[in-house]
């Protein structure tokens, strides 16, 4: 892997050059917190952040995305037809994405890109995008990435990994996409020998600063029905108010809903973020909802992330440990606590008798 050295000037000029070939998206401070937004001409991403308040998943997977339009206007030739909306996605680079959020796209891809079915909306955006990661020197106290299959300098899902240094950045080129971006930015100066070792040292130091952990080793082997019938769900779900903050701030939550919106005789079919916390989630046409209560919904969220996913894909948990849901939940439901409860759950002989 190629290591590059980028000083402050090369950084600023490089981004300006790259903006000719790429739509740049980066962390921008808005009022009190950072969000990932398209950068204006000459605007630099603001790296004075631990992580963005909400995840950058909207870059690939917008909260509201038109899929089709249709018209019932009888005079129109295309009446009664669904017309696909093809979003024009220029080559895009997300500059300064944290490794956890980039890894999240790898997990989400498992859902949107399968051998049988591919989601063109998600895939078009993903394939057009280059991920320029920024190693995390100062993880939050509520980050638990190192035990969630990730880490502050984790490379999976990234095309290029930056590490901030006193003079600027060192960059590790990880893929052809990353190479192309470095070329577009004119970042060619090779880093001196020993830089890769220094990067590993930075990563180790950052990992050492992680203070929060989850235990996941038993999740796979505990029978799903045992976890489903575990006695703690009433206690875990009690505080939940069934808002969508956890799912909307989560980089790995992928569920969506499809709704038609009509005005007059024209309509648009939208793909919208859904949330397992909502009463419409999995509501059947009959009016029945298999997840009709708060307890069902909360259990669904945790079982999906920490059990169903684990069993189905064998790729660890559907969580990268970014800690957003922990920080933002208005009632302090903490996935770390629930994960450890699930992982430590052993059914006694009696409890096995649940019919």
């Amino acid at each position: 892997m190629r290591m590059l050295l980028i000083d402050r000037r090369a950084w600023e000029e490089g981004l300006k050059r790259a903006a000719g070939d790429y739509r740049l998206i980066g962390p921008v401070k808005e009022k009190e917190f950072h969000s990932f937004r398209p950068l204006a001409a000459g605007q630099l991403p603001d790296f004075a952040f631990q992580n963005s308040r909400l995840s950058p998943k909207h870059v690939i997977y917008p909260q509201t995305e038109p899929m089709f339009t249709y018209t019932l206007e009888e005079t129109r030739e295309d009446r009664h037809l669904l017309r696909e909306v093809v979003r024009d996605i220029p080559p895009t680079a997300v500059v300064g994405i944290r490794p956890c959020d980039a890894k999240a796209f790898v997990l989400v891809r498992l859902n949107f890109d399968t051998p049988d079915v591919q989601d063109p909306y998600w895939l078009r955006a993903y394939e057009a995008t280059t991920f320029i990661g920024l190693g995390c020197n100062a993880p939050c106290g509520s980050c638990f990435c190192t035990t969630a299959g990730c880490g502050p300098f984790h490379e999976e899902g990234l095309d290029l990994l930056l590490a901030e240094t006193a003079e600027g950045f060192t960059a590790k080129v990880l893929t052809a996409k990353g190479e192309a971006f470095a070329r577009a930015a004119g970042w060619t100066k090779p880093a001196p020998e020993g830089t890769e070792a220094a990067l590993q040292e930075l990563a180790r130091a950052a990992e050492g600063r992680i203070t929060s952990f989850v235990q996941t080793e038993h999740l796979k082997s505990i029978p799903v029905n045992d976890l489903y019938h575990a006695p703690f769900w009433d206690e875990v779900s009690f505080a939940c108010i069934n808002c969508g903050t956890c799912t909307y701030s989560c980089p790995t939550c992928w569920c969506f809903d499809i709704q038609d919106e009509t005005r007059g005789k024209a309509g648009v079919r939208l793909k919208l973020w859904d949330s397992c916390m909502y009463p419409l989630f999995t509501l059947h046409g009959s009016g029945h909802n298999p997840r009709g209560t708060k307890l069902h919904r909360v259990r669904q969220r945790f079982l999906h992330k920490l059990k169903y996913f684990v069993e189905k894909y064998d790729r660890g948990i559907q969580c990268v440990g970014c800690g957003r849901c922990v920080r933002l939940c208005p009632v302090n439901i903490d996935i770390r606590r629930v994960c450890n409860m699930m992982n430590g759950y052993a059914v006694s002989g009696e409890a096995c008798a649940i019919p």
């Binding site: 308040r53 909260q63 922990v326």
Partner: protein, 315 residues
């Protein structure tokens, strides 16, 4: 442990042991600084979970809706007013409840404190009048009065309005509070300016509905935003749909809102949607001399007709 915590545990243990209640709803210690988690305890030996400090901002009346048990509910001033509203609206019966009143000196605004600190806050401690936040390489102590939630700094009903038990001495109510300076500022704007002001206010909204769901008033079995046949409001990020949600939600709270601040506290993106509910609260006060949740005897402003109701706006 604060003395309120000790008294709460003592009361809860007594109520549970005697069988006066089947469960006590309160707060337990949170897993991150400045957050506590609403919880229930059912056994006297579990009351050690209960805590009380300046981070119990969520309104516990929210957890009473349609419950069938006999419940001991921990209630600060605003919670108790929403308990009253719940009883008036038949969402719980008075006979089911033992209200454990907590005279309140206001809840801390975790965002305000975070913004006054140079780094991530890792530990928080408090005395009766001060809150200390510590992180890597810093420690800041604030006068509690300076870092209260906005609604708490304007609160004129800190003491519970109904209670069967009391966890601490009643506190002095704040006098001479100008509750509506922010609403007046909006009222004075031109329509154009106001339209723009609300557009900016609501721009960060992600429609997670945390404001709605944190609110003890929002208990409709199906909220209008969730109706799909017919669909009353679009579900996407269209700014008009977002605005329609916020306005309609506020109107549904007219004459019922106690300004407990749960909505604003719950918002992950820091929107002050209390401006809307406060405007309606101000109108109810000025037009009907009505404050929500103060009495089990009076019917709410929008629930009764009085011949002298203001009607100048009708031609």
């Amino acid at each position: 442990m604060t003395s309120t915590t000790a008294i709460l545990r003592e009361i809860a243990a007594r109520l549970l042991s005697s069988g006066a209640v089947e469960m006590v709803i309160g707060f337990r210690q949170g897993t991150i600084p400045m957050m506590n988690e609403p919880c229930f305890v059912r056994k006297p030996d579990e009351v050690g979970h209960l805590v009380w400090d300046s981070h119990c901002g969520i309104n516990l009346a929210n957890y009473l809706t349609d419950r069938k048990e006999k419940i001991g509910i921990v209630a600060k001033g605003c919670d108790s007013r929403n308990v009253v509203t719940h009883i008036l609206e038949n969402k719980i019966r008075r006979e089911q409840l033992v209200v454990i009143g907590v005279p309140c000196r206001g809840m801390a605004d975790k965002r305000k404190i975070a913004m006054k600190c140079p780094g991530e806050i890792l530990r928080v401690s408090e005395t009766a009048t001060a809150i200390t936040a510590e992180g890597e390489g810093f420690s800041r102590t604030f006068e509690k009065a300076d870092v209260l939630q906005h609604n708490c700094s304007l609160c004129i009903h800190r003491n519970p309005v109904i209670y069967d038990e009391l966890a601490g001495d009643l506190v002095e109510e704040q006098q001479g509070v100008d509750r509506y300076a922010d609403v007046r500022a909006v009222e004075e704007m031109t329509p154009e300016r106001r339209w723009k002001y609300f557009e900016d206010l609501l721009a960060p909204c992600i429609r997670c509905y945390a404001c709605r769901n944190a609110c003890p008033l929002c208990y409709c079995p199906t909220c209008f935003v969730d109706e799909s046949r017919p669909q009353w409001v679009g579900k996407g990020q269209d700014p008009i749909d977002v605005r329609t949600f916020h306005f309609l939600r506020a109107y549904h709270c007219a004459g019922r809102c106690t300004d407990c601040g749960a909505c604003e506290r719950a918002c992950p993106v820091g929107i002050n949607m209390r401006l809307f509910t406060k405007k309606l609260e101000k109108d109810c006060r000025e037009l009907f001399d009505w404050e929500a949740g103060l009495s089990l005897e009076a019917r709410p402003a929008l629930d009764q007709y009085r011949p002298n109701d203001p009607n100048d706006f009708i031609r």
